[in-house]
Symmetry: D2
Subunit: 306 residues, 4 copies
């Protein structure tokens, strides 16, 4: 049993009228960076958790679900074994970790504006990054992702967008617009893919997910939404893969399993052919909400979460 009775709680209000509660075991670090408030706590139920501006980003116990879900659908859908990858955000290093499981990857760039968050994750969350920051294929840049995308001439087989949802207009909101996604598309190779986390998909709170989905459809010929349970969030979570022509939905169970056997080193905990089928087969009410959505986020009128 727990002794003493848990008395410190992380109360994450996912909306003004709903929330999720975690008993806190201890706090490893907290700091205010130039960009955000960061904290790494250890909970009784999920181990270490990264919290940015009061919102839980990932937990030791179930980050394998989040990060495998974020990366593999995109990486597997590229026609050829992907060689170059870009991570936008992704402070913990776990997105990079999943990408570097592919021996075909020879260059992986991570652009996360907040060097302090990355440094704290590197120090306190070795279980998550597992040394990827020292991988010779890795290049970490701490600058504005949009500015960097605008100036670079590089093309990537895979781009992962691992950013928190914008709560107000400002620079963060400009990483979720049609213009930004156009930039991303133009930096993809012909059969390249991008995947992104795209917010809650729980009943009544689907609107960020569907608006991002609709915005992407204005930019990419192929857009496929999927979802995974993130237990530590207390809510299902939406993700989206987009590309110029390759489509993850066309991959059946054996195809995914065969591609994983060919391309991925090591054994995953969450993703495989059956999970691929599970995640992309969205429940009916989610599909209907996607179909009904008309909003497009633009630089002139950027989408804000909540």
């Amino acid at each position: 049993m727990i002794s003493p009775q848990p008395y410190k709680w992380f109360l994450e209000t996912t909306t003004a009228v709903e929330g999720h509660m975690h008993a806190i075991r201890r706090t490893l670090v907290e700091a205010q960076t130039k960009f955000q408030h960061v904290e790494i706590i250890e909970t009784h139920s999920y181990g270490k958790c990264l919290i940015l501006d009061g919102r839980i980003q990932s937990s030791q116990a179930d980050e394998f679900i989040y990060h495998e879900a974020l990366v593999h659908p995109g990486m597997l859908t590229v026609d050829h074994a992907p060689e170059t990858a870009l991570v936008i955000g992704g402070g913990e290093g776990a997105t990079l970790r999943e990408i570097l499981r592919y021996p075909s990857i020879r260059r992986a760039v991570m652009v996360d504006i907040d060097d302090e968050v990355v440094a704290l994750c590197r120090q306190h969350l070795p279980e998550m990054h597992q040394g990827v920051f020292d991988d010779p294929r890795t290049e970490v840049r701490h600058e504005d992702a949009r500015a960097w995308l605008e100036k670079t001439r590089e093309r990537f087989d895979y781009v992962s967008i691992d950013l928190t949802e914008p709560l107000e207009e400002g620079p963060a909101a400009l990483l979720f617009t049609r213009e930004f996604y156009t930039l991303v598309r133009d930096r993809l190779t012909a059969d390249g893919t991008m995947t992104m986390q795209a917010g809650m998909t729980k009943v009544g709170e689907l609107t960020f997910f569907t608006a991002v989905h609709r915005t992407l459809r204005d930019v990419f010929p192929v857009v496929a939404g999927y979802q995974s349970f993130i237990s530590c969030y207390g809510t299902p979570w939406g993700f989206i893969t987009a590309s110029k022509r390759v489509d993850p939905v066309r991959l059946d169970v054996p195809a995914v399993d065969r591609l994983m056997a060919e391309r991925v080193r090591g054994t995953l905990g969450y993703w495989d052919g059956v999970t691929h089928q599970h995640a992309f087969a969205l429940p009916r009410h989610v599909r209907k909400a996607i179909d009904a959505e008309t909003r497009i986020s633009t630089d002139a009128a950027p989408l804000v979460f909540l």
Copy 2:
């Protein structure tokens, strides 16, 4: 906006160290029956919620997910259009509602020991039962389900077990044992099916689900677990279909959609062919936990939740 600021909260601790929070708008009714504490509250996020012994059972906003998930996989898998059904538990009447969508059903028996809960649901949750208690095909019995199953000679094409998980040894725990499931099996027609709700499937809290799954495999030739997000629970939820020979997993997307078009009246919100595929394609870590489970609940050593 909400005025005043929400100040009444339903804090449901799903474990001793984790919970879900709902702001309460108002309380419709609360009572102590012979068997349990019952309450129907209205939350800001999910509308009316039925709460038994402090645990949320269903909410107005997402009960369609729970009840469609509980009923249709079983009803659709029966070889012929099902004619008789039994609901064990199912106080709200919504399980019955989904069953009675099938015009082929000519008799539906519901055995819920707690007449007071059923009466309160009938009065306060018309959105859920939608008048099924007045359907001429319905027979509601308030008695011990196991005793009734032991004495009845009836056979059913479909049995739905909609009971809360037992928190301690006692009569409730005896509705989750090998002996009880044997009784259920023996009351099924040759191609009959049963489905049941089987507890949380979130990371670290899979053990009730896997033990029930294992117990059922000792009794039924075909056992298929599946899961659905129940947003108001703040955790994914497991269900299981079992039968003597028919298998829901063999139904592909078009087959489910065709069977639903043939058998089901009206339009569902959650279940269809794609959702069927989604739900039965369990994520890898859930499949692995099922495979690793060895515990069997018996009358001599009944399984207790948590």
Copy 3:
């Protein structure tokens, strides 16, 4: 023990960073009146509680402390046995109840703008009002207290101000200004007194209390602050007596006890000579905060709480 485990909680945030928690047993009534949100709940610890706009006003278990503290210091300080009294606010009827303990009272007017709150208290809180609304000496008026004070020519031996603190500018804030207190003073008899509740006196949250105290000193020759623990608030509470010449602080323990024996019918739970001494002997840090205060609330610049 409590069964089931308490799961409904009243979380009253007394500031943005501090609060008090009460497990809710049941809700007796809730309504939105023309003026405020009202709710009467039953808590495990304090029995029935009246809640206005999310803030607890009084509880069955300790309202004797609040209402005795609000009334008796003023009533006892009047030179003669008081004959007329006015209650401004006071929805529960318990303020009136304490006043009517004095057989010398022949007329008690209560002006509470919210007839719906009064009706709900009358119906659901008989333990508090104890039938005072049917006392022939009582007159209840549902109108704006300030407007009524402006037009009446009556004089009162005692005035009780039992209003919630204003959270924003508007009519409520105009019941805490120098101009309003001047009106009150002018409706007192020569040796009449007023008492009022005046907000928290906990460390760091004394500013409403001290500002009201300072404002009153601009209007009344005699102003005496005192405090009482209100357990159900989770914070000490300030009160103030003011008058044109009589002073509660001059009453020593035997004097209070003698006056109570002469004037008050029945036995009180909280107030007597020793409690009088306790309450008016403010701790040093509270006295220092009163001395340091310079703000005065006026109609032109009304004080707002928090």
Copy 4:
């Protein structure tokens, strides 16, 4: 404003159905010692707080109230300027700090069994101890207080008992019994006094306070209970002074102020003559509860809190 919104909360349940909430700013240290769980957090409302086994002991913002209330009534009541003092418990060093304000003190022994708690307080709470551990008059011993009292031949003018209430039978409960208090009495000089903290005095939760009071009356000729608001606890708190012949209640306001001017160095925040009067003038319901109490804690049947 607070940014981000407070999301970490210290939820202290003072009973199973009531609690106090503090938003946590950060955690300075947490550890499990041989004896207890210790944590020093910083709250938004009260600054640094010491928490032992999940219960708040003192806060930076209002510990002056707790520690002045604990020490001065005893120290001032000794007939002569006290020269020797003993603190039982008192980890933060703040009890010692108040004692060492008396230049007449030439020796102050503190016996706190938990050297790790004392070391952590010494490191992290300099605002509380203000260097007293380095005062040449101080002797700190880390051993069982009862065993030490049994073997020592020393006599003290003043003894302060600053221990947490025992939650279960065991060594801690044996520091609240008649036999233990007899030991304390026998180590006092002829006009020596002891004071102790004695638990909550809120409505409905007075039973620990009254039972300790009753137990002390079996041992000491003079026993005087008093109370102070401890804002960070969210509940009023009881203290008791006991002696062989001197009585704090006999000291009137000028006497206390004169004694403080003579004996105490520096200016206090809470205690003075008026506060003395405030604290010892217990409200009527508290006095009645004391009078009605019959329980005595003994080694054979020790009192347990709650």
